[in-house]
């Protein structure tokens, strides 16, 4: 299995791989397997019953629906932002570029209370929307706002490097062959960006489905209306319903794993298309 390393001139294969596997097992694999093993304490019918109560189903619909919607909105505006950052010159561009990563750096609890303050009735944005009869805070739309915030950098940061590497000549060739600007965008640029766009979308979606901190302060957390799945897990834990909490967690873990596989596939496809190595 490891034969070709016998002749390797580097030392430390056993040590570094051994350490990697032991540490990975202790921190990640063993604790995660607890979810699977704990769920086996439930019979199949009671497992299905635990993850299909109306309240849990409503939370799945909400968490996945809002994550999808936020992902689509970020797909559009993320592409626009990446486009502006790569192709245009404007005042403050470096600052905007650096601040795109803010959602990665800002703790989610801070995001949560800031959004709740902004969109509540006396907040800067809430105050403007109130007379129009639009309420964002403490409704499902608050969840959407929070998920847009945390998902945006995923799309911008996967699209931006690909956009930067596109050869000018491709679009010049398209233009000289008579393509309009719109045609050369949809027929030349967009197909190149497609894998990156999908990867960014999938990353943002995966993050949004499990998001907790930035959502709970603004969501209002009304059962059946604005209660996200991670919050149900916490509620069940607080009621010492460990098996119920774990059953829901297992469903979410399986979905995350499928998403992770999809993202890896997309990245491999993207790498193949653009000749870049995985980043």
């Amino acid at each position: 299995m490891f034969t070709n390393n016998k002749n390797s001139i580097f030392p430390g294969f056993g040590l570094s791989l051994g350490y990697t596997l032991v540490y990975l097992s202790i921190i990640v694999l063993v604790p995660l397997s607890a979810v699977v093993l704990k769920t086996t304490s439930l019979s199949l019918p009671s497992f299905i019953a635990a993850v299909t109560t109306p309240r849990v189903l409503a939370s799945f619909q909400l968490s996945f629906g809002m994550a999808l919607l936020a992902g689509l909105i970020n797909l559009f505006f993320g592409l626009l932002l990446a486009w502006a950052l790569v192709r245009y010159t404007f005042f403050g561009k470096n600052v905007v570029d650096a601040l795109i990563d803010l959602p990665f750096a800002l703790p989610t609890a801070v995001t949560g209370i800031a959004l709740a303050a902004l969109y509540s009735k006396n907040g800067w944005i809430g105050k403007q929307l109130e007379p129009l009869g639009i309420n964002i805070a403490f409704t499902p739309w608050g969840i959407l706002v929070a998920l847009i915030f945390i998902g945006l950098p995923f799309v911008v940061r996967t699209v931006q490097p690909i956009l930067e590497e596109i050869e000018l000549e491709l679009e010049e060739a398209a233009a000289s062959l008579g393509a309009s600007r719109w045609q050369s965008f949809t027929k030349v640029v967009l197909p190149i960006l497609l894998p990156a766009l999908l990867t960014g979308f999938a990353l943002a979606f995966a993050r949004a489905v499990g998001e907790y901190g930035s959502v709970i302060f603004i969501a209002g957390n009304i059962p059946m209306v604005s209660e996200i799945t991670p919050l149900i897990i916490i509620t069940k834990l607080e009621q010492y319903d460990y098996a119920g909490a774990t059953a829901i967690a297992l469903v979410m873990l399986i979905i995350s794993l499928l998403l992770l596989l999809a993202i890896n596939g997309l990245q491999a496809w993207s790498a193949k298309q653009t000749g870049r190595t995985r980043q």
């Binding site: 921190i27 932002l81 800002l106």
Partner: protein
Amino acid sequence: MSLTTRFERSAATSEPALIKALILCLSLSFFGVFLLLPLLSVFTEALHKGVIYYFNAITEPDTWSAMQLTLLAAAIAVPLNLIFGVAASWAITKFDFVGKHLLITLIDLPFSVSPVIAGLIFVLVFGAQGWFGSWFLDNDLQIIFAVPGIVLATIFVTFPFVARELIPLMEAQGREEEEAAAVLGANGWQTFWYVTLPNIKWGLLYGVILCNARAMGEFGAVSVVSGHIRGYTNTIPLQVEILYNEYNYVAAFAVASLLALLALLTLIAKSYVEWRLKKETNAPSAIEGTI
């Protein structure tokens, strides 16, 4: 450096002025409303009742002990994940073995697990009803609702950061320089210390900066395992939540503003390191500049 991008200099790659203005306007308004406003509101809410109130809020004893715990958790999690990141990327990029792709996927796993589930798994393993719970109870060791649980959850959520940065970087740099060092008689540590480390130092720092920001700011996972015991198991983000839920908004935002400042410092450090990384990879030879 020219002030325009290469795309703006060719008619084939620039849009009509109206479209360009529309794209800029739309994208920057979106950026302003969804990213910039929340950041600004943290600081204005925090200073809402004046500077004295602000300083009183952030020097409160519970806030101080929360800071100490946050620093402790980061001081344990970051070095451990740093050592792991170096070991993992050395094994993955310097050797060939079966299952490498699976290993890389598994290393990324904590990123795709919901923070709440990250907390839950440690409750399942170490909680009173967990696998090792009774053993720890018998020996008077508390993991969950205590400091060790917070540290474990922090290590889990920051697990991939360093490895993720190093693996692609070391992959791109190849093995030639280390092979040359080995041929010239360097032993393993010398090769790592004098050849590999200088080549990866900026990538390493980049991973550490991101790892640290997440370690100090993690909320969901830590919230599940902490038990919210004031002055004992509260980190800064949890202290923000407690103050906020007590309707002590100004104090909550004051403490939150410390985290927001940390985030801004992180972004500045990150931009600097990115600039260094770019400079280094554009340099004709990676060896020349570093020895």
